[in-house]
Symmetry: C2
Subunit: 338 residues, 2 copies
Amino acid sequence: MSSATQGPTLSPFIVFDALNAYQRTAALRAGIDLDLFTAIGEGNSSVPAIARRVGASEKGTRILCDFLGIIGLLKKDGAAYSLTPDSAMFLDRRSPACFADAAQFLGSIRPMFDSLTEAVRQGGTTLEGQGSVEDNNPLWIEFAQSMAPLMALPAEMIAQQLGAAQAGAWKVLDIAAGHGLFGIALARHNSQAHIVALDWDAVLDVARANARKAGVDARYSTKPGSAFDIDFGTGYDIVLLTNFLHHFDPPTCEGLLRKVHASLANGGRVVTLEFIPNDDRVTPPTDAMFPLIMLATTRSGDAYTFAELDSMFHNAGFSRSELRELTPLPQRIVVSYK
Amino acid sequence: MSSATQGPTLSPFIVFDALNAYQRTAALRAGIDLDLFTAIGEGNSSVPAIARRVGASEKGTRILCDFLGIIGLLKKDGAAYSLTPDSAMFLDRRSPACFADAAQFLGSIRPMFDSLTEAVRQGGTTLEGQGSVEDNNPLWIEFAQSMAPLMALPAEMIAQQLGAAQAGAWKVLDIAAGHGLFGIALARHNSQAHIVALDWDAVLDVARANARKAGVDARYSTKPGSAFDIDFGTGYDIVLLTNFLHHFDPPTCEGLLRKVHASLANGGRVVTLEFIPNDDRVTPPTDAMFPLIMLATTRSGDAYTFAELDSMFHNAGFSRSELRELTPLPQRIVVSYK
């Protein structure tokens, strides 16, 4: 170490910050459990008023609110707490974009990180029957239910990027549809589109309910089962592959992409939504941190760079692939042409 | 919300960052478990070399190293990883200031945060027999063993601040001595000082061993038991009250401080080491985040502002108290005069 980096500039802060980082998750989860953000959004701004509204002690409420203030999820002016623009949008249950329930889903994978050391040793989770892509894992019903509010914006952006509103009578395959929002957005933008949604049958219940709510159920059909086993059919103009490839290793991805290629009409496109790290694998942070989740929760998943995805699509027969941003979202899309 | 704060500047990033923050803790703990920081400090810089040295898969090693790079605990240049000044000092086991073992202690309180919502409701932990200040809680043996490397610096700084080297034959009481390092530092600086260390007997084993190692055991005696029950004796020049008051409510603290006041010689001083938030209770961040740990792990603990501590000392009979910084450390000390 050079002398320039020694002395008072060194501080254990950054190490402690990581050792204690789990407390941020616990504080946010407690805030969501107590519906603290809605209470504050309704105008309760003092500790006594908030405590009364959420049914908690004043001391606990004060400590929790201060902590959430420090991590940027509340504002504090004098003794008055208020929501930030982010917490008003995403954590107040009166907001249509609220994804407080996503905390449920994200909480359900948390125990798998207790075995992270072993996952690093083995290159993937070793938890018996716990790989998140196990057949009919009930995790995905929870995922479909809780993550939908968060997917409305990327689904809308993808429909716009593809020019769905200006297109003809599309036939769309939505692989691992989950909540179904990506296919449903295409059906909403394109009144002649027909969507075929594929997922485990119990998960498709969620997608079918969302299609009914969106008024597109007459143009919505489903194929229950594993994307690796069932027949896709043919003649699709668009195949949606959203948040799916990261669960698998490259040979498995390529095998699936060959099957997707065969199902496309001439001129058809695949839209892949992913966390896509840059080639340095440490930027942008949200995309580049995602592989750890795959390491901890799947046997062979990862997050792939565009170069890696481009190579998989090329090997599966696609003529070319384009990387596109979904600014301001961290995820990106790859559009690949047959 | 004003229109100026809507639209593309809003991002769920800050909410996700908190929901996923526990992954930072898991990654650092996995790095410590695998002794990854020592491996990299020794000069292993490529994924294959690091993986071989720590006995892990290349894929898992690559994903973990990238994640630790993103959170600032490793540097990455091209494909080569190296330690940061902080991780070299605090996480490489070849460094004398390494506190990798503190992760053990900090890990042992982590499960208590699973009940944080209930602790907010009640104003303290409700876990049966789990309050961290229970009699003879084995937590404190682990604390004394694992946190010592981290306490060497503040112990040294306190000995200097008090002018221990220039003082006469001090009689020092070290309340809740734990590893004993604060009293031992005074004995090292002042060759005529006699230290009386107070803690549970099993914890005092750790303090006595550290006193022997420091060569001050001839001037080191111990009083096993609870600070609230046992007789302190009298005539102390210095009483050390380090990281103790935050476990208790103000009336309990005041009761203890009255007992401390009675044990001091005329002109005697108490040195209180604490996380001391500013009056706004949201700065500085490390001090202001500390109350959440007390909420989750004690029945009635908190972190007190200087105004609150000053008032407790005043009520217990002390003439005045001074707040002093221990820059660059986040903790501060209060020196109170009989």
